[in-house]
């Protein structure tokens, strides 16, 4: 039976987390023999469906173009997907706020116990997922016939274009249940790469002392093509908006290089970044837990070190 990926997309393209979810679906398919199908629902999403159809490992794309799916209401999406479940063994969503909101609604409607945030596929029934903010890993086997899963994007490669074009099949919208109406969004506009898919991330914590001081991080971010993140303490203090937060309850990132500045390294934060390839910590407290996970650490005043780092990077680039 096929594996269905519910795609998250915006601005005419699939999200990076959707691409990773497709790779996870492919891994499940390799053990179960199932094909991978992708559902793209929204307004004006023909181009996105074609993008999905061209990815390696995708056998079929379902498209449902209707304004009721434009803002990914969990209520409308679950009603659309529920009639499709019987011909699928697994339904996968990326473990982003999109998938976390939508997946459990479908799971309850079809009486399946969802498996959240999987980071490894053992076989078609068995998966590894973090618990206790990543302080433990649980290997769980599902007894449900149809498995509803959200996928931790950082542990799966992104599906690549260049596959044999898959068939694209139109799907009729289901009735709008009108339970939820989109009013508006305040999305952060940034020239910088998106936090969860950036190659380099530089994050600030309470040690930054103010939101204005984040310009010190932005300067370095621009030199490195990096995204800017923050600890929960910095977000709670109002230095930066909530969508900057890296951690158990914020975003999970795993870049090539993660630079933690003025961040002590609470368990909550470590859960969101400890799978980064190289970790750098800059903190004035030499006993800060962040140094226990850092590959390179500098103990000192960040207000002295950041300008020096910026200058050193400029010297290297010139």
């Amino acid at each position: 039976m096929a594996i269905l990926v519910i795609a998250e997309h915006a601005g005419g393209t699939l999200s990076p987390a959707s691409l990773s979810t497709i790779t996870c679906a492919r891994e499940i398919g390799d053990t179960s023999g199932g094909d991978v199908a992708v559902l793209v629902a929204g307004s004006n999403c023909r181009g996105t469906a074609d993008e999905a159809a061209g990815l390696v490992g995708v056998a079929k794309v379902l498209i449902c173009e209707d304004p009721i799916y434009e803002n990914a209401s969990a209520e409308a999406l679950a009603a659309l997907i529920q009639p499709l479940v019987d011909v699928h063994s697994h339904i996968l969503y990326p473990a982003t706020t999109f998938g976390k909101n939508a997946a459990p609604r479908l799971a309850a409607l079809i009486d399946s116990q969802q498996i959240s945030d999987i980071q490894e596929v053992i076989d078609a029934d068995t998966f590894v997922r973090p618990i206790y903010a990543g302080n433990a890993l649980a290997t769980v086997r599902s007894k449900d016939t149809i498995k509803i899963i959200t996928v931790r994007a950082t542990t799966f490669e992104k599906a690549a274009p260049g596959g044999t074009p898959a068939t694209v099949e139109d799907l009729a919208p289901t009735d709008d249940n009108e339970l939820s109406k989109f009013i508006g969004a305040e999305l952060s506009a940034s020239e910088r790469p998106e936090l969860t898919s950036a190659r380099v991330v530089i994050s600030g914590g309470r040690g930054m002392q103010s939101g204005d001081n984040f310009t010190l991080l932005e300067e370095i971010a621009d030199r490195l093509g990096a995204a800017v993140g923050a600890s929960r303490a910095a977000v709670d203090a109002g230095f930066v908006p909530n969508d900057f937060q890296v951690g158990q309850t914020g975003k999970i990132v795993a870049p090539e290089l993660y630079i933690a500045v003025g961040i002590s390294g609470a368990i909550q934060h470590l859960a969101g970044m400890k799978d980064s390839k190289v970790i750098v910590a800059i903190n004035k407290d030499e006993d800060a837990p962040i140094f226990q996970v850092a590959d390179y650490g500098i103990v000192g005043d960040l207000f002295e070190i950041l300008p020096q780092l910026s200058a050193a990077l400029a010297a290297k680039q010139s």
Binding site: E75, L137, G184, N242, E286, K316
Partner: protein, 249 residues
């Protein structure tokens, strides 16, 4: 309007959990327990609704062993009116909890149900959404602001790109994110008063819900640990290491 708040008893957020040697789970014996932090935010929000005259009764519900009553008492001391304790020693999965809560909702007829967005033990982030589905209600998840106006709730949600605002039909399920409010500390007089507030016991059987787990936990293990690395003196040294040793610049 009656507001139902579901709360969970978990290992205290400040305790570092230890994985059991035999891989069967994490050590919970003699470990300090507390109300899940997101559930505290849920209780606070409901109590504020009552204080603002939007709710006339705040009812807590939790499922678990006898000690769950301590967690319910904490919520009663924060200002909830009464509590329902679903007594069970089974391991509960989110779908089972959602079914129990749906059965309680059918008896209690609340206008809104508030839950934490996730529990910090299993990190599932499912129960509220599942409950909304089972009841056929709307859902406002990861809320950072909730405004109730008649039969509509306007919910500002914390999403990956920033904030999103939706208007949902009441009755509704709302799950709380970190910045919805700052939970109060219970005062001593309120703690004393909470001891007289009723906690009514119920069982899964009485509610007609099958709570048999669907997931089999094969093993629980410690994640691979990272070794502490090098302490450097200067930014120049750092850039040199990142270029030549780590190869990430």
């Amino acid at each position: 309007m009656k507001v139902l708040v579901a709360v969970k008893r978990v290992i205290d957020a400040n305790i570092k959990v230890r994985v059991r040697q035999d891989g069967s789970g994490v050590e919970t014996a003699n470990v300090k327990m507390a109300m899940n932090p997101f559930c505290e935010i849920a209780v606070e929000e409901a109590v504020r609704m009552a204080e603002a005259g939007l709710a006339d009764e705040v009812v807590l519900v939790s499922a678990g062993p006898q000690q769950t009553q301590e967690t319910l008492r904490t919520g009663l001391a924060m200002g909830a009116d009464r509590a329902i304790h679903i007594v069970t020693h089974e391991t509960l999965e989110p779908l089972a909890v959602a079914k129990l809560l749906a059965a309680v909702a059918a008896r209690e007829n609340p206008g809104m149900i508030v839950l934490g967005k996730q529990a910090i033990d299993d990190d599932c982030n499912q129960t509220g959404q599942m409950l909304a589905a089972l009841l056929g209600w709307s859902q406002g998840t990861f809320a950072s602001k909730v405004v109730i106006d008649g039969d509509t709730a306007t919910v500002t949600r914390e999403v990956d790109g920033g904030l999103e605002t939706i208007a949902i039909k009441m009755p509704a399920v709302v799950t709380t994110d970190l910045r919805l409010n700052e939970p109060r500390y219970a005062t001593l007089p309120n703690i004393m008063k909470s001891k007289k507030k009723p906690i009514d016991p119920l069982t899964a059987d009485e509610l007609g819900v099958n709570i048999t787990p669907r997931l089999e936990v094969l093993k629980v293990e410690e994640p691979a640990t990272r070794a502490a690395g090098l302490k450097l003196e200067t930014a120049e040294e750092l850039v040199e290491k990142l270029v030549n040793e780590a190869g990430v610049l």
